[in-house]
Symmetry: C2
């Protein structure tokens, strides 16, 4: 292959890196109100960059929170429209003293660019803009129609994105949603993530007597909320590591043999993981490998548990309260509300006498899954193969990005997660960086993908 855009990227590499450094030097931290002006600056920078790239209808659209940057180019011969989502806000930077170079003074060393936002997600947003620019400058047009939707509140939970999407369904209408915000499997091994776990969280508060009691005078005669809580929590798993709540697995899509084989072919190193975590053995639902457990099986995890005396030594108290926080990771087609319903029922049925239990429902997010043989996934596979000269792998992820599922559902489009970051690039941590190898190959992958999309359907 020797397409003109390849030459364009080579010739403009220095300019592109200089521009990327400009974007990365804006401290667009969404969690800190002091950085509001920087948020605006970053959005303005993107508006300018999108316009310079040749996109049309470029605008900063207000929301109740930070503005969303929109742009499009809708003159393709193909009637396929790809919507690119990304975010221009970044995580806070503390502890600052652990950064080798300041987080907002981008620095290139060893062919990596170091800065907050380098991989998550300003660097990858920048690549999509430059890929479109290269195609427009060298070919005068794009293979498919393109829309950009770049938000500024992803790192604080995207509170205004869903209402925005609801309100602008026509403007954002597309055939496919492309997001570059998930990691590759490892260096040289691009990955397309076709599943993310969902989430539902709850708090359990157990109460007995009005106040803490002397364990000598009352102990054995009044219910101890810590005992009740331990019994409730212990009842939620059986001894094989399975969740023991009735109906919990009812809607879970079982892994296909093909998927299990594909996971196995990744040769995930469980021994190395044991060493890294310093555990004698991995533990989870019986009958599944580590990847199968964390990518494709739902969990119920106690995230916190507390009550009574926590100081040094002993205090012979019979506490009046006990608390636990728990969250489930869900897989398709589990519904977070339904899971909360059955957990609540289970807790009520397993509450011992003498205590009152209060249950608070917290965050929810649906699981995301797209068939791994979807034509747009297959198109992405071919694009990676051309750019990386390596076969990409199909992966799932144990984490949750609720917006992925929500965005796809609201617009009724398949979501393609094609990220270019590497797992060790310290997103959300000091010394965040991005490998320039994946910057270069990622630009090509995006161009190839737009071309492949035009051939699909």
């Amino acid at each position: 292959m020797n397409n003109a855009y390849r030459t364009y990227f080579k010739n403009h590499r220095d300019t592109h890196l200089k521009e990327m450094k400009e974007l990365l030097s804006i401290p667009s931290i969404s969690a800190l109100s002091a950085n509001k002006p920087d948020i605006k600056r970053a959005a303005e920078w993107l508006v300018d960059a999108l316009q310079a790239a040749g996109l049309e209808n470029v605008k900063m659209m207000p929301t109740e929170g930070n503005p969303i940057v929109y742009a499009d180019w809708l003159h393709a011969d193909s009637d396929i429209t790809a919507l690119v989502y990304g975010h221009y806000d970044v995580q806070p930077v503390d502890p600052l003293e652990l950064w080798q170079t300041p987080p907002f003074e981008p620095d290139i060393r060893d062919e990596k660019i170091y800065a907050r936002g380098a991989t998550d997600d300003k660097g990858q947003v920048f690549m999509h803009i430059k890929a479109v620019e290269a195609l427009l400058k060298t070919e005068g047009k794009l293979p498919v129609n393109i829309k950009f939707c770049i938000e500024g509140e992803e790192e604080v939970g995207s509170p205004t994105l869903e209402p925005f999407v609801e309100q602008h369904k026509d403007l954002l209408a597309a055939d496919v949603l492309v997001i570059s915000d998930t990691p590759m499997l490892e260096k040289g091994k691009p990955a397309i993530c076709y599943g993310l776990r969902g989430l539902c969280a709850m708090q359990i508060d157990v109460k007995a007597a009005t106040g803490d009691l002397h364990s000598g005078i009352y102990g054995g005669g009044v219910a101890n909320p810590l005992h009740a809580l331990a019994a409730i929590l212990a009842s939620m798993h059986d001894e094989t590591g399975k969740v023991a709540i009735e109906g919990f697995y009812d809607k879970v899509q079982p892994l296909t043999n093909e998927e299990r084989q594909a996971f196995q072919d990744l040769h995930y190193d469980e021994e190395a993981l044991k060493k890294e975590l310093n555990v004698g053995e991995l533990y989870g639902e019986a009958g599944y490998s580590f990847l199968e457990r964390t990518w494709s099986r739902p969990t119920l995890e106690i995230n916190g548990m507390y009550g009574g005396f926590q100081g040094e030594g002993i205090k012979t108290v019979l506490p009046s309260e006990a608390h636990a926080k728990l969250s489930c990771r869900l897989v398709a087609d589990q519904d977070p509300q339904e899971i909360q319903d059955i957990i609540e029922k289970h807790i009520q049925e397993h509450t011992p006498p003498g205590v009152q239990v209060n249950i608070t429902r917290m965050d929810t997010g649906r699981p995301f899954q797209i068939p791994y043989n979807h034509p747009f996934i297959q198109a992405a596979m071919r694009a990676y193969e051309k750019a990386y000269e390596a076969t990409p792998v199909l992966t799932r992820m144990g984490g949750s990005i609720p917006i992925v599922e929500g965005f796809g559902r609201l617009l009724n489009v398949p979501v393609i997660l094609m990220g270019f970051g590497l797992p060790g690039e310290n997103f959300h941590a000091p010394n965040e960086h991005f490998h320039l190898e994946n910057f270069d190959k990622g630009l090509l992958t995006i161009c190839e993908y737009l071309k492949e999309l035009a051939q699909t359907k």
Copy 2:
């Protein structure tokens, strides 16, 4: 009855109260090093008072901590010797602002004397001195031989008492040990406590991975120490409230029918307790009443449990550690070390895969029990009956006073717990006080008891 000492008490009541106020005005707080001089002053005050009462060999004996005050009078016709134990140190006084009158400015109102130490235990120590004084002044002798051993570290766990007793077994040798530091059942209902529960405490620390993990990336694939801890703790009780640890009840002395009847005859108001504690039902080992459970049955109580996230909302963390503190209340003839052994074994056998458990043994104290038909108990019953003109009740207590058992065991003597305080007199709390009715009747009870003891054997 119209004994001379009765008249003596009447005639000297004002002097006695004035003297008691003097003793109570010394802030002999053993927990605060700033009060060391006051500790010494209180001990000196007792030395003077014992001498003035007519006791002999009065001395302040050094220990590694606070001095112990000793005195005796060994010229009785009877060959029985009673050893009186008490303590001259007191609890701290904060929160000071909740005291209606300053804790070390004793104030009499409504026939109660308000001061720190009024009931626990300086007031009651004072009574024993004055009872002996009255007998010596009016009768010229005591019915039995008497020894006093008054320590200054009871409120900080009596760290030097056992070594002191070991070292001075001959000096302290006696036929009966009398302690006035437990409450009466209620106003007008004197009680003799013939059993105290013992204690053993432990900490359980559960560890899995070296650090906290992301519950999305690792959840379901790595053991969660909170799950393991909940399972371990839940396994310690069965669903009827019984401790489910093998061998836990093996050495427990069952209640006799006579004891159960005696407890029932107290007509303890469980309904009132439910209201007071604001619980819908009382809960504990099946087949026992509240008094039976707390007075005569052992318990295993989780005093604290903690691990993971405790803040507001949810944090989807898979914690690396979980902790619990537990303590058992033990009854005769359970051995604290043996109980710790079987709990440790139980924990090891019930630890799920993937975690490491560390167990730390903490405080222990043996249960105390004396046969309720012991002749020295019967003598006390008669003494109370004469002084109070009411039948005293035989009780046990759910709390632990390890020194009672230790003292009795080291000297190989029966311990008679005849306290004159009332349950609501705020020992260890602001506005500690002591009812003068029980001061008056207690003085008589002690005199009667010494006389009854002389008739025994």
